[in-house]
């Protein structure tokens, strides 16, 4: 019993080590997309998307990708760091990290770990502390939620700004293209005595 639990856990830890965690994935990314994106470099064993029930729903997907070995994980992580790696969209790159055990849905209990629980009586000296701890937990959760929201806003802002830039660039090129196409550029060049033809 004991040993099998340990074995199971060891196997699980090994699996964790050769799994890479991706975030900032576009919602349109599906398992085959991710797989084909990564199989340019290495062999993918398994892809699991982490469902997001708690956070804001539009913060991008996360996925666990099981690779062949821990070495491959390091490779892909450093690759994604050096070059912005984009999947199904630009310019926001995806991010890769080493996976952690808590990210897995089905994980074996740590062998030897024991959980205890007890109800505290109102008279217990720890009761007040526990109450404070509960309060703190709630506060922390709220803070985390706020930070997540803030991050989201930042992302939104950046995205908007980039859209504007992009639109500006696009407009500019469009205009240049149109004046080149309809002869305005040549007319003006003649007027100002410029040479516009490519040399």
């Amino acid at each position: 019993m004991e040993t099998s639990g340990e074995e199971e856990h060891a196997a699980f830890e090994e699996r964790v080590r050769r799994t890479v965690y991706f975030e900032n994935l576009s919602p349109v990314v599906t398992e085959p997309v991710l797989k084909s994106a990564l199989e340019q470099f290495l062999t993918v064993k398994n892809v699991i998307f982490i469902p997001n029930y708690i956070g804001p729903s539009n913060c991008g997907q996360c996925a666990l990708v099981e690779l062949e070995s821990p070495k491959r994980v390091r490779e892909i992580v450093s690759m994604a760091k050096q070059h912005p790696f984009m999947i199904s969209g630009m310019p926001r790159p995806v991010r890769a990290r080493q996976a952690e055990p808590e990210m897995f849905e089905e994980r074996p209990a740590k062998p030897g770990s024991k959980i205890t629980c007890r109800w505290l009586e109102p008279g217990d000296p720890d009761f007040e502390v526990a109450k404070e701890l509960k309060q703190l937990t709630r506060k922390h959760a709220a803070e985390a939620a706020f930070l997540a929201k803030l991050q989201q806003q930042e992302e939104e802002k950046l995205a908007k700004q980039q859209t504007d830039t992009l639109q500006g660039h696009y407009k500019k090129y469009k205009m240049i293209e149109s004046i080149m196409a309809d002869g305005t550029a040549r007319r003006l060049a003649r007027r100002y005595n410029f040479r516009v033809s490519d040399d």
């Binding site: 997309v33 994106a37 109800w119 720890d126 509960k134």
Partner: protein
């Protein structure tokens, strides 16, 4: 079934065969099967998956078979939820978890389904007062997921309080009530105590020689196989004893007794069998406290445990007869054996009456008492008779020892096993009439012999006997234990072998186990209020993974019905199962929990889990209790619960940061579809790269922010936790 493809990989194994049917004799019926790691027996209640419905159907398996084309089918007798027959309920009040069993004739009574539609076992307990039903224990009712006591006549469309006819959908009604072998946690406690009791009686522990142990294992297992096979058959009681005998006898040669004796004892067996039937008849006729009840349910409940135990003793008795014959004269054997059998019958009868009475009166606890009393009795008797004709016996034994150690080994156990017998017998004469007085003397003799062996401390007996004695005790214990355990058939099969593997102190080990197991010790649970309780595994609850109904859907339903709770401040490394266990320990509520998977930005200090409760009231109770009180988990974490508001993925989620030029969008999408891969590493010579860098910057900043936040959280928590007096 939508997921046939997936189904292929799910573990499946047929269990016991039943018979062959169909027009071409190509349909194989079964009594049990294992599917997805869960063993199902005939007449089990199960959940059945049905597409598009949030709640699974519940039904009872009344037929299991495999067709010639290898398709696996089950015939299911349906349970109705009150909400399904709302229109016909009329003024009838229903409980939250009450079900109605389909009855009568018409559509909706039973259906044939593919076996793969089963998605889990369902714990349904019958609380009907019907005499054919085994009254459930409080524990059972408490832990049951559903209860039923009434029926819904699908033909006439009305509720029936009781069922008068003997068959529903071609199945005898008695099978539809509680099984005798349904889980009985309370029984386990009793078991533990009982064993300890015996252990105490057995004043010093002697290590049994391993070889003997092995043999015994063999015997017991064998017996058990037979036992399991015979189980469902109508006259299981009879056959049980027969198979027991057979296996026992079959194993005997391995114990070193001659073949002749086997033959002899076969004769004895015949006698015994006759006796057995007689006894059955007697019990029936006597009409004291429903003997039909016993007959009716030939499985392994507590009543039956007594009968089986009784049979066991009879077996050993017959052995005794035979072995003594071995030493003395052949001619004597028959007569002696015969008498013994008669005696055994009477004993058996008494015993049955007694047990039935006690169980009827006060259920589990009482029967334990009576058993203890019995044990006490037997030892008393042995004391009384110490000096009488014990000598004779001893001499015989001694002789035997000299002759052959092996023989001795077999003999001694038999004698000793008779201890219970004679104890009982004397008691019976005391309790009852003098009808069997004539037999008493013989029994007394046996009592003496037993006494001798139990009194090993005082007497300067030889060590071999001690060994045998111990062996014997083990032997009687093991079967008793496992019958009483009365769990699922698999358990029973495991029971003896496991016990014996424990080798030295199986008794202690098991006793401890039952104590530890949470539900087995109500007192320990009450302690929750004051002391720290270790959260151990819950014993019951369907462990089946009928997650085949997607979690998301279940969560959505639960959320709509207010049954969803979000737990915070769990240790992030906890598993979903552990959360379920905590809920069970803290609130006595069963639930389905799911730890939220961590992401790069989830707090390392507080794990979260969504928990679906059975009822809205249960969920609210938990939230209220956790709000007012404090449930301190290990590592100084008070549990926090709030009403769960999960975010569900939207149809078209917005994702910031992927830009495209409006005019080219349609074109781009087509390209994306055509492209083999839609990913690339950005090169540093275009605007995209610059933008990507901006994103990377933002990500780094966010990372830092999160890190700082959690660092601060950690410090705050540490400071506060330092104030906790207890850890």
């Amino acid at each position: 079934m939508a997921e046939t493809g997936q189904e292929e990989t799910i573990e499946f194994k047929w269990g016991k065969r039943k018979g062959i049917g169909g027009k071409k004799k190509d349909v194989q019926f079964y009594k049990s099967f294992t599917y997805d790691g869960v063993e199902y027996d005939l007449y089990d209640s199960v959940y059945l998956y049905n597409e598009g419905e949030p709640e699974p159907y519940i039904g009872k398996l009344i037929k299991i078979w495999e067709n010639a084309d290898k398709s696996k089918k089950v015939k299911v007798l349906w349970f109705f939820r009150p909400c399904e027959i709302l229109n016909f309920l009329g003024t009838n009040e229903t409980c939250d978890n009450e079900l109605f069993l389909a009855a009568g004739a018409g559509t909706g009574l039973a259906n044939v389904n593919p076996l793969e539609a089963i998605c889990g076992k369902c714990n349904v307990i019958c609380i009907s007062k019907d005499s054919r039903n085994r009254p459930p224990s409080d524990e059972e009712v408490e832990t049951a997921e559903f209860v039923f006591s009434r029926f819904f006549d699908v033909g006439h469309r009305r509720i029936l309080d009781k069922i008068d006819y003997d068959e529903i959908a071609g199945t005898e009604v008695k099978f539809l009530f509680n099984k005798l072998d349904s889980e009985k946690p309370a029984e386990v406690v009793k078991l533990g105590l009982d064993k300890k009791e015996i252990n105490a009686l057995e004043s010093n522990e002697v290590v049994a020689p391993p070889s003997g142990q092995e043999k015994k294992e063999h015997v017991v297992e064998k017996a058990d196989d037979h036992f399991a096979d015979v189980l469902a058959s109508e006259n299981a009681d009879l056959e049980l004893s027969l198979s027991k005998q057979n296996s026992f006898l079959g194993a005997k040669p391995t114990l070193g007794v001659g073949v002749e004796e086997v033959l002899e004892s076969n004769d004895g067996l015949q006698n015994l069998l006759g006796g057995k039937t007689e006894q059955q008849a007697k019990v029936k006729r006597s009409g004291v406290s429903k003997p039909s009840f016993i007959k009716e349910k030939p499985s392994r409940g507590q009543l039956d445990a007594s009968t089986t135990r009784l049979e066991l003793r009879e077996t050993t008795k017959s052995h005794e007869g035979n072995i003594s014959s071995d030493q003395t004269k052949m001619s004597k054997v028959d007569s002696k054996g015969g008498k013994h059998h008669v005696g055994a019958d009477h004993v058996g009868q008494l015993k049955v009456e007694r047990d039935v009475k006690s169980t009827k009166k006060n259920g589990v606890a009482e029967s334990k008492l009576s058993k203890e009393a019995k044990l006490g009795d037997s030892s008393d008797i042995s004391n009384d008779k110490d000096n009488n004709n014990g000598k004779k016996r001893r001499i015989i034994c001694d002789n035997n020892e000299d002759d052959d150690d092996k023989n001795m080994k077999t003999l001694a156990p038999c004698i000793i096993s008779s201890k219970d017998k004679c104890g009982m017998d004397v008691k019976s004469t005391m309790n009852k009439d003098g009808m069997m007085e004539s037999k008493l003397s013989k029994k007394a003799k046996l009592g003496n012999s037993h006494k001798i062996s139990t009194e090993k401390d005082n007497n300067n007996e030889k060590s071999p006997r001690l060994i045998c004695d111990n062996n014997e005790d083990d032997k009687t214990l093991a079967p008793r234990v496992n019958f009483k355990r009365g769990k699922d058939s698999c358990d029973v099969e495991q029971g003896p072998s496991k016990k014996l593997k424990h080798d030295k102190k199986p008794i202690l080990a098991d006793g401890k186990f039952s104590k530890e197991s949470p539900t087995a010790s109500p007192s320990a649970e009450r302690k929750l209020d004051c002391g720290v309780t270790e959260v151990t595994r819950r014993h019951d609850v369907d462990r089946s993974k009928w997650f085949r109904i997607p979690w998301e859907e279940r969560m959505k339903n639960a959320h709509d019905q207010g049954r969803l709770v979000l737990f915070q401040n769990l240790s992030p490394s906890m598993t979903s199962k552990e959360v379920e266990d905590i809920v069970w320990h803290g609130f006595k509520e069963s639930c389905t929990a799911k730890m939220m998977q961590a992401t790069a930005f989830s707090s390392p200090h507080s794990g979260q889990a969504f928990v679906i409760f059975k009822t809205k009231a249960g969920a609210e109770m938990v939230i209220r209790k956790l709000d007012q009180g404090c449930l301190l988990l290990s590592n100084g974490r008070p549990l926090v619960a709030i009403i769960g508001h999960p975010c569900f993925p939207e149809k078209r989620p917005i994702f910031h940061g992927h830009l495209s030029i409006e005019q080219f969008r349609s074109q781009m999408q087509r390209e994306m579809k055509d492209a083999v891969s839609t990913s690339h590493c950005s090169q540093s010579n275009n605007i995209e790269y610059d933008m990507a860098m901006e994103w990377c910057l933002l990500q780094e900043r966010a990372d830092l922010a999160w890190k700082r936040l959690y660092q601060r959280h950690g410090e705050e928590l540490r400071k506060l936790k330092a104030k906790l007096k207890s850890k």
